[in-house]
């Protein structure tokens, strides 16, 4: 539980650092703090699983793995904010502090053992995201996105809270283990309150991870938010959200699998189809990535629907592979779009922003290619093993193989739109002027690409 405490304190420290004249110290300080939190996360790695804070939070290797992914992705994303302090981020100290605070929420979502903690975690993370989405204050789209996200998000949180209340009514407790105990003591018939309550909680969480049909906010919000925060949202919120859903389903609701698996299977199929098919028609890279993030939610849901003993490993691996690839993709977009928005008035985030990138900056082109291959799930990249493990889950479950047909079809569709990016990068003529990126930026992108390839060759690296 050290990271939560550390991040809360260090977030305040960052706020106070903001009083200094020189803003240059903020980024290194934030990175240092994140590294500290990352290291602190592993202090208790070998300890037995334990409950903390009056049984409010739970910690084992699974929650620590998820926390590590979240903190590491945050580290990469914050690394990409360099040079941003000037335009989008007028008050860098506040934004960095909010990022640190939002991670507290994310870790609470991962490590909750009590529905109240889940609610608090979701709220801390979401409210931070509403603010960050609107951080580009003079941009109309950013404001619109923030308002949309806030209204829809508040509504979803309300639904979730209502569900929790019903669960409390049915079982008399907010604690995961108590709910599980109640379900195993009274297996049948399950009360209507419990049915409705669990469904509403699930809907609230599915909203947060943008599963269809609760995904309508995603493209607008991803599109409107400053790109760096889009990257933050699509990695950290998604990972934390799936960790939370996994904890919920595998922990308290595992007894009523026969009740929710079909619902979840239907949502999975819908999410896969909507995400992938809509992504094909996008002109803007950012909107494409929004729909692609919906489709990846679909793959993760596949693993949740199967819910075998191997599901947790698959979800951890997939989340990491997805986060690495997404950070690289948005990182490249930021480098390219920034350059373009200075030079022209065209829509800076369309696919054709990447035209000729192979010549302009071979490194960025390579990073983008690896990231797209990984998202498409092609071997040599981490994304392949992610898909592999998830397919394994489904086949192990046995009666769900029919879903795989949908998943395979949709994977083929996915290859189509990811390759549109690669084609633009290498095969289309575009701007010829060389594109420069700062060394710092380069390090972040190289790190995530190397990790993607390394995990692609040696998936064993992740314990």
């Amino acid at each position: 539980m050290l990271p939560i405490i550390l991040l809360s304190i260090l977030g305040l420290v960052v706020l106070f650092l903001g009083f200094q004249k020189s803003k240059n110290i903020l980024l290194p300080a934030t990175l240092l703090f994140l590294a500290l939190a990352f290291a602190a996360n592993f202090v208790h790695w070998n300890d037995a699983p334990g409950l903390y804070f009056n049984e409010m939070l739970f910690e084992n290797q699974l929650t620590m793995s998820f926390s590590a992914i979240v903190l590491f992705s945050a580290f990469l994303v914050v690394g990409l904010t360099r040079g941003f302090a000037d335009d989008e981020m007028a008050q860098p100290a506040e934004y960095y502090a909010i990022i640190l605070f939002s991670l507290v929420g994310a870790i609470m979502m991962i490590a909750f053992d009590n529905l109240l903690m889940l609610f608090l975690g979701v709220e801390i993370l979401s409210v931070s995201m509403y603010v960050l989405t609107g951080s580009d204050k003079r941009n109309l789209r950013s404001n619109e996105a923030a308002l949309k996200y806030f209204l829809m998000g508040a509504f979803a949180t309300g639904i979730m809270l209502f569900g929790m209340a019903l669960l409390y009514g049915a079982t008399g407790s907010f604690s995961l283990s108590d709910i599980k105990g109640y379900l195993s003591a009274n297996p049948f018939p399950i009360s209507t309150l419990l049915y409705v309550g669990s469904l509403l909680v699930l809907i609230g969480m599915l909203f947060k991870v943008s599963a269809a049909p609760f995904h309508f906010w995603t493209p607008d919000v991803y599109d409107g938010a400053p790109t760096v925060f889009t990257a933050f949202m699509s990695t950290i919120v998604k990972t934390a959200g799936f960790a939370a859903i996994y904890r919920l389903l595998s922990g308290s609701f595992s007894g009523i699998y026969s009740f929710w698996w079909l619902t979840l299977a239907a949502i999975t199929v819908l999410t896969l189809v909507v995400g992938n098919v809509t992504a094909v028609y996008q002109k803007s890279f950012k909107r494409m990535m929004a729909y692609s993030s919906i489709s990846h939610a679909g793959y993760l849901l596949l693993s949740l629907t199967a819910m075998t003993s191997q599901s947790q490993n698959a979800i951890v691996f997939y989340s990491l592979a997805y986060s690495l690839a997404t950070v690289s993709a948005f990182g490249v977009l930021m480098a390219v779009a920034k350059e373009r928005s200075v030079h022209s008035n065209e829509d800076a985030e369309n696919f054709d922003a990447f035209n000729g990138l192979g010549k302009r900056n071979p490194l960025l082109a390579f990073v983008l290619t690896v990231s797209m291959l990984s998202l498409a799930g092609i071997p040599l990249t981490a994304g392949f093993w992610g898909k592999f493990f998830i397919f394994g889950n489904i086949i192990e479950r046995g009666n769900l193989v029919w879903i795989l047909i949908v998943a395979i079809l949709m994977s083929a569709v996915g290859i189509y739109y990811y390759f549109k990016v690669i084609i633009a990068t290498y095969l289309k003529e575009g701007d010829v002027s060389a594109l420069r990126v700062s060394p710092f930026y380069r390090i972040v992108l190289i790190a995530s690409t190397v990790l993607t390839l390394l995990l692609g060759l040696m998936p064993q690296l992740l314990p």
Partner: protein
């Protein structure tokens, strides 16, 4: 252990080529490919002709799941490794006269492709096989898409999506089979060695499903009718080096997959669906040949001929007879050699005349005795004249298919007649007749071009005159395999 080097040598040479300057990359690539050839030849010398896996290596890959990074070579693998190792240096040499932009990347991709292909042919773990099977697509996609012709973007994307889509079905089949295997040690419930998959005994209906999952993957890769629509366009639009890789080696991945996976794993599935597969293959033979006769673009013509030939190989394999499978294996070798030679000659003609249209060519023979001889020999090999490599393969294949079903054997036999029609028509129109304005100043072969064609022609005769030096390598492995089918 040697097998691991066989994969590492091209991979490392690829890195070396990638890191050198553009103008010296091709020499580095050639040296790397020759090194690989040396290694393969030495293994050819040391190989004991029995059914065991030799020169193996095995490391834990995902130890907790029983997935190994393991490879080894039996007769079937050796044949295809030899083919890959023999053709790659020639393919690299064939590009020497042409300047390529970003040459270091170009040659690095060819060598990466070779590493992946060797990996496919030598993997003894099912998931490692799949890993290489798909990894091979990445270099070939970029080779075709970056250095290809006008329509390359659309065509290569179709190729990529199509083949990956098929492979995913195989992945599902492999994972399904994996969950039926026994574990090797405590705590590891399953293992993914190919030999472990052989032991999985499913009921006939399940085997039918698995059959189709594999069949779609391999049929798209080869390609078989009706999954072939990506093939002619991709072959035509790719740069010749990539076409050679595709037709010469990559197409064999599909046939190899059928031999290695489909026959031994789902014998009951083949019992039910084998005839369907043979019929589809035979349709491909006739259909491909007839379209080849109509073609004007000579590259497209050879592409369709390749489609027809692979149909014959597939029919032989699906006939599950010793002659059929042995014929398919030797024909893979022969076809690889012939088709690479033919595509190279088309490239020679194209680079001198800037045309691939059969109507615009003609009269080339008059100034080019050497080219004419080489072209004729390769072409006769392709139409299966006795004494050439094509004859051995087609004879065995047709006798295998005839054993399986007389009528199908008879129809498949038409391939010899139809093949002669389109090939001789090609030769007649392109090489004989009056000169056209394009062929007026046609120059004969250069030294490097002869260096490519001579080894190919030597192999045409070697396999044609003494096929036993290759057949005896594969026979123990093949009969071992067929015992599993007819158990």
């Amino acid at each position: 252990m040697l097998t691991l080097f066989l994969i590492l040598v091209p991979a490392l040479s690829a890195l070396a080529a990638l890191l050198t300057k553009n103008n010296s990359a091709k020499q580095i690539a050639l040296v790397g490919a020759l090194l690989e050839l040396g290694l393969a030849v030495s293994m050819f010398g040391q190989f004991q002709p029995n059914a065991t896996q030799q020169f193996g290596f095995s490391y834990p890959w995902i130890a907790s799941a029983g997935i190994m990074f393991a490879g080894g070579i039996d007769g079937i693998s050796l044949l295809l490794v030899m083919l890959t190792a023999f053709l790659t240096p020639l393919i690299i040499l064939s590009t020497f006269r042409q300047p390529y932009k970003n040459a270091s990347t170009f040659y690095a991709l060819i060598l990466f492709m070779q590493a992946a292909l060797v990996g496919v042919f030598t993997a003894t773990d099912a998931f490692l096989f799949y890993f290489f099977f798909e990894a091979a697509l990445i270099p070939i996609y970029f080779l075709a898409a970056v250095w290809g012709g006008e329509n390359r973007i659309k065509v290569t994307l179709k190729f990529f999506v199509y083949t990956i889509f098929g492979s995913l079905f195989m992945l599902v089949a492999l994972v399904y089979l994996y969950f039926q295997t026994a574990g090797l040690s405590a705590g590891v419930p399953h293992n993914s060695a190919i030999s472990a998959l052989y032991k999985v005994a499913l009921d006939a209906q399940k085997q039918g499903w698995i059959f189709w999952a594999f069949f779609v993957a391999f049929a798209i890769k080869m390609p078989l009718f009706p999954f072939h629509t990506w093939q002619p366009d991709t072959y035509t639009e790719s740069p010749t080096a990539a076409t050679m890789l595709l037709a010469g080696i990559m197409l064999k991945m599909g046939v190899y997959g059928v031999v290695r996976f489909l026959l031994p794993i789902v014998p009951l599935g083949i019992e039910t669906w084998g005839t369907t597969a043979v019929i589809l293959s035979v349709i491909g033979i006739i259909y491909g040949s007839i379209i080849a006769i109509q073609q004007r673009d000579i590259k497209r013509l050879v592409a369709y001929s390749s489609f027809a030939h692979v149909g014959l190989m597939a029919a032989g394999v699906f006939s599950q007879t010793l002659n059929g499978v042995q014929g398919a294996l030797i024909q893979m070798l022969a076809h690889g050699i012939n088709v690479v030679g033919l595509f190279f000659i088309i490239e020679i003609i194209f680079s001198r005349t800037k045309s691939r249209n059969i109507e615009q060519l003609g009269g080339i023979t008059q100034r080019t005795p050497q080219l004419t001889v080489y072209f004729m020999i390769l072409l006769l090999g392709s139409v299966a004249l006795p004494l050439t490599n094509g004859f051995v393969g087609e004879f065995l294949l047709l006798s295998g298919i005839y054993e399986f079903n007389k009528w199908l054997g008879a129809i498949a036999g038409l391939t010899i007649i139809l093949g002669a029609v389109y090939m001789l028509r090609l030769f007649q129109k392109a090489m004989f007749g009056g000169k056209s304005s394009l062929t007026e100043h046609f120059t004969d072969l250069s030294l490097s071009e002869r260096a490519v064609l001579l080894p190919l022609v030597v192999m045409v005769f070697w396999i044609g005159l003494y096929p036993n030096s290759f057949l005896k390598l594969t026979e123990p492995a093949v009969s071992n395999l067929l015992q599993m089918v007819h158990y």
